[in-house]
């Protein structure tokens, strides 16, 4: 075996030039080559204690797959990841590895941690490009399980159960499977062909995917049991977008991040002359500092905006988005208005002519400057308004990206399903809800969180469902 590569820094991820990519929807990060992947893999010390595995919500055997890369056995590496994760090509792209596996990496103490996420992505892409072997459908064990929602938690739960021989049907409300992976995360960060490929792999394992079925409306959870399903996993995702409650939020040109991204991603409004319209160009302000806000801002830029602002009420240090996303956004020219909070959205109104087509559209936004005060109960320093600091930001589109509240559809049609005071479904450590044989996980339980934590929840529930049904 090659000697460990003791370079303190990791191999750089090649990316599209920022000035070029700001005008296209192609993927930003281009991925490692085989040589670079092996070089990066050789930075792994193969620690006996495997701290990185502890940091992974789905417990991928990280040193083991990296060892296979060192040997040049990329398919072998894929098979190891595949034992723990149903969506490696997705996770390699969107997981916040820097706060999970990579944050525990020993190499990170005196330099940069091993690029685990980049290696995972490399392995998954290699498999998807070169492996022609079809996944083998396991023999059915006769048990039927229904999955509500085809986002990361649902797909993971479905995949794990299908591999064990369960007959799994996934019900999706929208017209395409993938949940947030298709309506939320943009093409330039996660190409939709990759999601489609992962869904296809599950179908080959025998998973049935029924689109256009809204559980809670088209069918209820009780009806699923009547249809012969023995367990149900609810991974219906986060729900309705939050707004700030400031004047002007109903003006034309004010979007929630969910709406803005859904129009662009799921409905393909980024294409030329699309059926689904979206406001393109002009000056855009995105309010919020999470990954979704970064996605919305960078989407607006690619749709042709001349200026895009991120408006966030705390400082860069508290900004919750992944560093990499923030860096990419800055490189592309997104203007970060930090310690800044909108208090009113201004609209056009022509008192002379009520039929003026510009009436009701956004013309700007009044903001106040903030400073950081005492830490709150979570330890984050509370932003406080600086008196007399009002100023106007000249914008014509606004995207509110300040979180979501749980969707009421399932709770309102499922008797005995307990929810907490925020509307999130209450579960025990196995993902079991207050209803017999009904499990839940992902954003429907936790509120907005990451793809990988949702996958972890799907995995936990799959294990519990298997234990309950194989008794």
């Amino acid at each position: 075996m090659a000697k460990a590569n003791m370079t303190p820094t990791r191999n750089v991820m090649p990316t599209q030039d920022p000035l070029v990519r700001a005008h296209n929807f192609n993927e930003v990060a281009l991925g490692y080559s085989e040589e670079v992947a092996i070089d990066e893999a050789n930075r792994c010390l193969n620690c006996k204690t495997m701290p990185c595995v502890d940091g992974c919500p789905v417990k991928i055997h990280i040193p083991e797959f990296i060892s296979k890369i060192k040997e040049g056995d990329f398919e072998g590496a894929y098979q190891i990841i595949n034992k723990s994760s149903s969506l490696p090509a997705v996770c390699g792209r969107v997981c916040p590895q820097e706060t999970q596996c990579e944050s525990k990496c020993v190499r990170g103490i005196k330099g940069e941690s091993v690029g685990i996420g980049r290696l995972e992505r490399f392995v998954a892409d290699w498999h998807n490009t070169f492996c022609t072997e079809e996944p083998v459908r396991p023999e059915s064990n006769g048990h039927r399980v229904a999955i509500v929602g085809s986002g990361p938690s649902g797909l993971t739960c479905a995949g794990d159960l299908a591999k064990k021989g369960y007959e799994v049907t996934v019900f999706e409300a929208l017209h395409t499977a993938g949940g947030v992976l298709v309506y939320g995360i943009p093409e330039f960060r996660l190409p939709k062909a990759i999601v489609a490929k992962e869904v296809d792999t599950l179908k080959k394992l025998g998973v049935k995917v029924e689109t256009n079925v809204v559980i809670g409306k088209t069918l209820t959870i009780d009806e699923l049991f009547d249809m012969g399903f023995e367990a149900v996993f609810v991974g219906s995702g986060a729900g309705l977008p939050n707004f700030m409650g400031i004047p002007g939020e109903a003006l034309s040109g004010v979007y929630s991040a969910n709406e803005f991204l859904t129009r662009s991603n799921l409905m393909k409004a980024y294409k030329d002359n699309p059926d689904t319209p979206i406001m393109k160009g002009g000056k855009v302000a995105v309010v919020g500092g999470g990954n979704v806000a970064m996605d919305a801002a960078r989407t607006a830029l690619r749709l042709g905006a001349e200026k895009v602002y991120i408006v966030y009420r705390r400082s860069m240090e508290e900004l919750p988005a992944r560093r990499e996303e923030v860096e990419h956004a800055e490189e592309e020219g997104i203007d970060f208005q930090l310690l800044c909070n909108p208090v009113e959205i201004l609209g056009y109104r022509n008192p002379e002519d009520p039929r003026d087509p510009k009436n009701g559209f956004v013309t700007g936004m009044t903001c106040v400057k903030m400073e950081l005060g005492e830490p709150d109960e979570k330890g984050r320093r509370r932003p406080v308004v600086i008196p007399g600091s009002e100023f106007t930001l000249d914008v014509d589109t606004m995207v509110m990206s300040i979180g979501t509240s749980p969707n009421p559809l399932i709770k309102s049609t499922t008797q005995g399903l307990e929810v907490n005071r925020w509307g999130g479904i209450v579960v025990n450590e196995d993902g079991l809800t207050s209803r017999d044989a009904v499990y839940a996980g992902g954003d429907a339980v936790t509120g907005a969180a990451t793809v990988i934590s949702a996958m972890g929840a799907g995995k936990t529930a799959a294990k519990a469902i298997d234990e309950a049904l194989s008794k």
């Binding site: 309506y183 256009n212 809204v214 309705l240 109903a250 409905m267 319209p277 009436n359 969707n407 559809l409």
Partner: protein
Amino acid sequence: MYKILEKKVLNPTVVQLQIEAPFVASKARPGQFIILRVDEDGERIPLTVAGVNKQTGAVKIIFQIVGSTTEKLSHKNEGDYIQDFVGPLGVATHLDGLKKVCIVGGGVGCAIAMPIAEALHEMGAEVTSIIGFRNKDLLILEDEFKACSDTLRVMTDDGSYGEHGNVTVPLKEMLDKGEKFDMIITIGPLIMMKFVVATAKPFGVPCTVSMNPIMIDGTGMCGGCRLTLNVDGKKVTKFACVDGPDFNGYEVDFDEAMSRGRMYFGYERHKHEETCNLFKKEVQ
């Protein structure tokens, strides 16, 4: 894919389709809606269910050609398929306990009002229907309303059929005469519903309106269909897809809803004015 079982052209701009969707047919109740896409890459549009046949699994929709998607849909024929059809969505109209109701429908809104009138009639309630159209050519569903209404008033804006005037005229006349309705249910253009509510207000009759804002997912995810209610002097944001489409007419901010409804008007017109003269006319 969802099969078109039957097609009927009701007037030059309004088409009725029966779509095969057994799950939706078995569940849908008056006031609920569906979302459809005509083809791959098509737009998602909400349409209120105009009736169901549980035996055949057919769901009836009636729509006016107002833009590119409805135009495309109008070119589909019996035996053709549409890409997506999902529902039933939204909360059904609350009809329990109603004994004497006035239904006020305008234009293609009458298609949504009709199943509500039918349901009330079957419940044994006394149904007064007022239906209004721009002119005689745009009249739809007169016979259907006749069959389920104790009193029917047909209005046209230009007097080319029925009585001359808009729907608020007979409504005010009846209320003035002392008619006591448990509820007025009104469905049609926003401006019409706004004036129906204004007409009913001095008489204190409860008034339900059916809102039909721009939607995308229709399942409580995107927030595009939000509208503002004034509840006891407080502004409350509601979502038509999961909280509606029916709301208390006295609480709805109609001016805001009308303004939001015009958001993509320029886009639609620009995109299609060369292909179809219909879009130059105003939507009724």
